[in-house]
C-alpha cells in the first residue's frame, strides 16, 4: 500500500471547504429569507428600498459569500502541479 499522493490530501481538504461554504451559504440564504420573509407584508421594513428579508438573504448573503470565497482561496488553498512528476 502506497501512501496517498500529497496533492490528493490538499484536493480533499479543499473539496470539504467547498461543502462547508455551500452549507453556510444555504443556511444564511434560507434563514433570512424565511425567517424575516414570513411576517405579514405590512410589517416588513425596507433597506435601500428592498424588503429586509431579501436584502439580508440575497444582497448581503451574496456579498458575504464572495468575501468568504476570496479569503478562503487566498489563505487556505494551495497551488499544486497538475501534471505527473517527471522523476520517478
Amino acid at each position: 500500500m502506497e501512501k496517498t499522493d500529497w496533492r490528493f490530501k490538499i484536493a480533499h481538504k479543499e473539496a470539504w471547504i467547498g461543502v462547508g461554504l455551500a452549507l453556510f451559504n444555504f443556511i444564511w440564504w434560507f434563514g433570512f429569507a424565511y425567517g424575516l420573509g414570513s411576517r405579514p407584508v405590512d410589517e416588513y421594513s425596507y433597506i435601500f428600498g428592498l424588503p429586509d428579508w431579501f436584502f439580508y438573504s440575497c444582497v448581503v448573503g451574496f456579498l458575504l459569500i464572495s468575501v468568504l470565497v476570496i479569503v478562503v482561496v487566498h489563505f487556505f488553498f494551495t497551488e499544486v502541479p497538475f501534471d505527473e512528476e517527471e522523476d520517478s
Binding site: 501512501k3 407584508v41 428600498g49
Partner: protein
Amino acid sequence: MNYAVLVPMIVFLLVIFFIGYWSSRKLSTSSNFISDYFLGGRELGGFVLAMTMVATYGSASSFLGGPGTAYTMGFGWVLLAMAQVVTGYFVLMILGKKYAIMARRYKAITMIDFLKSRYNSSAVVLLSAFSIIVFLFSAMAAQWIGGARLVESLTGLSYNSALFLFAVSVLVYVTIGGFRAVALTDAVQGAVMLVGTLVLLVAVISAGGGIPNIVNDLINENPNLVTPYGATGDLTAAYVSSFWILVGVGVVGLPQIAVRAMSYKNSRSMHRALIIGTLVTGVIMLNMHLIGVFARPVMPGIEIGDKVIPLIALETLPPWVAGIVLAAPMAAIMSTVDSLLLLVSSSIVKDVYLNYVKPDATIQTIKRISFGVTGVLGVIVFLLALNPPELLIFLNLFAFGGLEAAFIWPIVLGLYWKWGNKYGAIASMATGISSYIALHFYNLENGNLFGVHTVTMPVLLSLAAFVVFSLLIDRKAYQYNVPTLK
C-alpha cells in the same frame, strides 16, 4: 426594422466570427487536433475559465425565461435564482484539483473519457454517451428557440427566418473554431452579459422612479410579489430550497460544466476562476432577475415571459444602447448552445466513434468527422426548433435535471470514494435517469412529491443505488495513488 438596435448586435456577431476564425487558424497548425478541438489544449487561464463557465451555465433560461418568471412571480423567484451563486465556487472546489490531476493522468478529453478510465466499462461509456446525446438535444432545442425569439422580437423577422439566422451564426464559428473558439467567445460574451445587465438594471430602476417607488407599486398591485412565496403564494420553502440542488450543487454533474473543469492550465487559473466565477454569477443572476421584477410596474401586461427583457430594454434605453445590452442574452444563448453542440459532437466522435467504430482513424478522418458531425447536429437541432414547444424554461430544466441525476454520483464518488465501481456507476445512472423521467410524469399529474423539485428524489435514489451496488458486487478498493503506466 430597428436599425439603431440591429447595428450594435451585428457588430457583436462579427467580433464573435472573427474569434472563431482566429481560433481556426490556430487549430490548423495544431499537433494534437482532438485535445485542441474539444478541449482547447488544456490551457485556459483564470478569467477565460470563469467566464466560459458562467456563460455556458447562464443560458436562455437565466436571461429570458428566468426574468420572465420573476416578472410574474415577484421577489420569490429572485430568491430562487440566487441559489445559483453557489455554482460559482462549488463546482470548481469539488471537482477542483483532484479531477484536474486524474483527467491529465487518464489523458481524458471528455467527461466520458474520465468515466471510462475510472470505471473501465463499455456499459458506462455507452450509457453516458446516450444520456448526453438525448438530454442535451432537448437543452439545445430550448436554447435555439430562445435565440430565435430574441432575434424575432428585435428584427420583426418571422420566427423561422430568425431561427435560421441564429443557427447559421452559431454553426459557423463552432464548426470551424472548436473549444478554443467557444471558450474565447464565451469570455467576450460573459463580459458583455455582465455589463449589459448592470446598464439595464440602472435604466429600469430610473424608469420606475427609484426602488422604493417600484416596490410600493408592487405592493399596491399584489403584496405577495414582495414576499418569498411568489405572487400566488405557491413558492413554498421546500420547493424553493430544493432548487438549491437543481441549479446549485447538482451542477457538478452537468457534462458541459464538468468538461471545463479539466481545461484549466494550472491551479493558479483555477483559484482565479473560483473568485471571478462567484462574483460574476452572483451579479448577473441578481441583476437579471431583479430587472424582471422591476419591469412589472414599468411595463405592465406583458404576456410572453421570454419577451420581458427585450421589451423592457427597448422601452427604457436609447436604441443603440439597447442593441448592446440585448447582445447579452444573445451572448448567453449562443455561448450555451455552442458548448452543448461541441459536447454532443465530442460524445459522438470521441466517445463512440473512436472507441468502438474506428479506433485507428487518421487525423484527417477525425478532423472531417468532427466538423461533419458538429454541422449535421446543428442542422438537426434547427429542424427540431422550427416547431417549438411552449415552455422554454421547462425543456431546459428537464435536460439539466436528467443529466444531474445521471452523472453527479459517478463523477463525485468516482473521484473521492475508493469503493465506487462500475456496477455502482451503471446502477446509479440507470436509477437516476429512469426515476427522473418517471417522477417527472408523476409530478405533472399529482403535483410535486413531498413539495420539492423533481430532481431531488432521483439524486438521492441514485446515490443509494451507487453505494449499494458498489459494495454488493465485486467490492475492491480503487487505487488512486498509482500513476497509470504508459
